[in-house]
Each structure stands twice: as structure tokens, then as C-alpha cells.
Amino acid sequence: MKKAVRIGSGAGYSGDRIEPALELAEKGNIQYLVFECLAERTIALAQQAKLKDPEKGYDPLLVDRMEAVLRVCREKGIRIITNMGAANPIAGANKIAEVARARGIEGLKIAAITGDDVLEHLKGVDFPLMETGAPVSSLKNIVSANAYLGASPIVAALKENADVIITGRVADPALFLAPLIHEFGWSMEDWDLLGKGTVVGHLLECAGQITGGYFADPPVKNVAGLARLGFPIAEVSPDGSAIITKAENSGGKVTARTCKEQLLYEIHDPSRYLTPDVVADFSAVTITEIGPDRVQINGGRGRPKTDTLKVSVGHVEGHIGEGQISYAGPGALERGQLALDIVRERLSLAGVRTQELRFDLIGLDAIHGPARSMGVPREVRVRVAGRTDTAKEAARIGNEVETLYTNGPAGGGGATKATREVVAVASILISRDTATPKIHYLGV
């Protein structure tokens, strides 16, 4: 019988720490290193970068990550799977080849997977938006449309002996499920096994969030060594059961509790977790500590996949302007409230048109919503944010906060202002055959 496969998770998001990935490659005794770096909106931003420069549109940290791990992965035969291709997997693959050449790494086979970009297919067909039911044509300024691909093209590239596989939009768990399908020869219609592999992928995709990151809440939940947090490893058996662990002597911890929090992270109905490969069922998963930093995961299940693929449609929805300023000492709260009233009136007098405006006192109601009982804070931070159609109007919001310096209540300090374009994301469902994955190989 085939041995267990060890998969490491080298990133939980685009900007994540890099050293833990190197630690996994060097000391993790892994066969696969997966980097999941593509949030819902990231690909729309990457698409905008690609429009400005056709050689861009991949993850900004791709080169840094490859410079850190490529040599050791090559030496140890660790295969790399990542969605850092974002809007431009081919440019990303070229960049990886450049890193390899610059470091004298030879005999490397790189696969770029495309086909998730379905923007062309949106023309002429008016799909309803999943969020509101409104037609997709109601969105102004669409900049991207990317379908969530499944594990199949990654499996195909692994069969062709690719050492590094770089994709655009692929369902996050599929990055981890693919090597399991490849190693164990799982059928693409064995729903329970695909469900189990999806559980593993879901547990690993946020990297440090299962090894004690995003968990500490002293004194109730203590975690040691968060500054040198180890990233997770799944040791997966051919029957789909898995042990979650991490590199020895790394910081953090893997316990039943850290695993439970991650299992339910970003989950709605636990019995119906939709992916392009399977409808996974987490409801009977069991989580058992079997040793220090070793947690056994069993009981994942699955049902047949749906007929459709989810597509994230990125669209520009105006601009957000924001300003902040602080007040301290006796009467801080009253002066903060006065400041908000002044900015509200100023924006109205100036005729700044906003889609929506928000007034917060950070430290009081910015997170919790309308304050029910107000204590007397030693300091408050005024925050005004608004969404507008134009960048110019967005800038007015921060300016009206900043002018409180010389025109507002006494003692305002530390004013900041910012504007940004709003690239929002909506979702539609398309039939599976609309998105055709393609694999491009590149040798070094």
C-alpha cells in the first residue's frame, strides 16, 4: 500500500510570512509545498495591474517566495503548487523560470494553468448575480470575471511531471486535493474521498491559522512562539484520513481546538461545502489529538459535484474616501462627537455626493456598532468614511476631517486621510463547459 503523503502549506494569503515556508521545505519532510495567495478580490486588482502592464498581474511576492524556496525544493524533490499566477499565470511562470536561471537551477518543468478568465463569455449572456438576483449587466465597469477551476488541470500537470504549477483562480482546497488525487489515484467521482481531501485542503489553506495563528486569547487560550509560528503539514493516508502537524521546534501549536476553529472558518452549512470538484460534507468530521502537535482528522464525506462553476466578477464601484483624527483627555468623547457633527455638516454644505457615509468613534462604536453603554474613554479617534462616484469627491471626505485641525474642536491630533478605488466582487454561476482549462509548459 502506498505511503502517506505530506503536504505543507506555505502561505495563507498574499502578504503572508515567507520564512515558515522555507522552514517547511528544509525541515518539514514534505513532498508538496502549496501557496494559497488569492483572495476573492485580489484577482480583480491583478487584472487591473495586467491592463497597465501585460507582463504583470501575478502575485507581488511571487519572486520573493520562489527565491526563498525554489533551490531547496528542487534539491529535495518537493513539488510546488500555487495560485500566485493570479490574473497572469503565464507571466508568473516566466518569472519563476527567471528565478531558476538566475540561481543556476536546471531541469525544472513549470506548468501554467489558464482558462479561469471567462470575461469574454459574459458578453451577450445576462447571468443573474448570486447576491441580489440582478442581471450582471447592471454592474458598471466590469474589470474581471474568473471561474473557480477544480483540481483536474493540476492533476494533469502533475502527471506530466511538472515541478512547479502556477494557476490563476482555482478553488483553494483544490490546490491541496490535486496532489492527493495524483498520488493515490483517487477517482474524480469517488465523492467521499474527494470530500476528505477537501477537508484537508480547507484546513491547510490559511496556513498559520491552524497552527496557533489567529487563535491566542490570553489567558483563556495561550500560544507560545507566535513570532516564529510554524506553518502546517498534513500527513494524508490513501484512505483520506489525515494528521495535521507542523515542523519540529517551530512556534505555535496544533491542537483539537486550533483545528476545530479552522474547520469552521468561512463555512456556511457544514454539510454542504460547494467546490468545483465535490460537495463536501464536514458535518461528521472528527478531530482527535494523538500526540504533541499531532491531530487526527477523520470523517469527511462528499456528494456529487454541481453542474455549475462559480465566477467572481470584479467591477469598479466608485471610490472610498476616509479621514481620521484623535481627541484625548477630559471631554475627549464630547469633542469627538462635535467633530463628527462638523464634518457631517461640512460635507452637506459642500454638496459632496456620496453613495453612503459612515461616522465612527474608534474605541467606542467602530467595531461593535451603535454603543449601548458609553464609558468615559481617555481618548477617541474620529473616523469618517464615504463611498462616492468620483475620486475627487472621495478626497473631500478626508480633507474635511483634516481641516478640523484649525477649524474644529480643541486638541485634535494625528489626522490622516486616504482614498482608494473600490473594486467590488459579485458572483455568478456558469455551466462547467464555459471554462476550458489549458496547461502551458515551460522548461528551464
Binding site: E131, F215, D217, I267, P270, I362, A366, I367, G369
Partner: protein, 113 residues
């Protein structure tokens, strides 16, 4: 006592939907969570934040509940004006919920071994 003494929690976001897991530290306290942390109470706790339906899923084998809250994120992370655009702080906010002190119930010791 506060919910934080009995359970731990993490928030996730997808579009305008926020989900909050609630996991009993000790399996025997799951029944308390089920009894006292109803969708109605969670909805009420997040008045002014959550404008849609709150659905509760139960995972007794894990000693956990999962609350799915609709229209909870000001339109979603990409367009909301909220300081915490993902609503990631909501799970900590829920930990302030009061749970009645019960006779005979061993209060869990603080500290996670």
C-alpha cells in the same frame, strides 16, 4: 459568566455573509451553548450590524455551533465602509454574551493547556 469562559470562536466572511463558529472548550458544555446561544440572541447582540437572517448549524460531534449571519458586512469586504471590513472582530464581540451561572457546573479554569 461570559461566553468567553465556556467557548472559543472565529469569524469568517464571504461576500456580505459573516459566519461565527462557537466551540465549547469542554464537550459537556456544548448543551449550554445550544441552550443559551440561540440565533435570536446572536441577532440581538449584533443589532445595528447584522440586518439579515441568522441561521444556526449544530455540530455536536465537535461540540460546536456555526452561526451564519446575512447582510452582516455592509455589503461585503470589497465595498463596506466599516473599519473592520471583514468583520473579523465580531467573534470576540460575541464572547461578551452573558451565560447564567449554574449550580453544580464546574467553571472551566482559565488557561489552555
Amino acid at each position: 459568566m461570559k461566553l468567553r469562559e465556556l467557548a472559543h470562536s472565529r469569524t469568517g466572511d464571504k461576500g456580505d455573509i459573516s459566519n461565527i463558529s462557537l466551540i465549547a472548550f469542554e464537550p459537556e458544555h456544548y448543551a449550554l451553548l445550544e441552550k443559551y446561544v440561540t440565533p435570536e440572541r446572536v441577532r440581538q447582540h449584533f443589532t445595528g450590524i447584522v440586518y439579515g437572517q441568522v441561521t444556526r448549524y449544530t455540530l455536536p460531534a465537535l461540540g460546536a455551533l456555526n452561526f451564519v449571519m446575512e447582510r452582516a458586512l455592509g455589503g461585503g469586504v470589497t465595498r463596506t465602509l466599516a473599519l473592520d471590513a471583514h468583520g473579523k472582530c465580531l467573534s470576540s464581540s460575541l464572547m461578551a454574551l452573558d451565560i447564567p451561572e449554574l449550580d453544580g457546573l464546574c467553571k472551566p479554569a482559565a488557561g489552555d493547556a
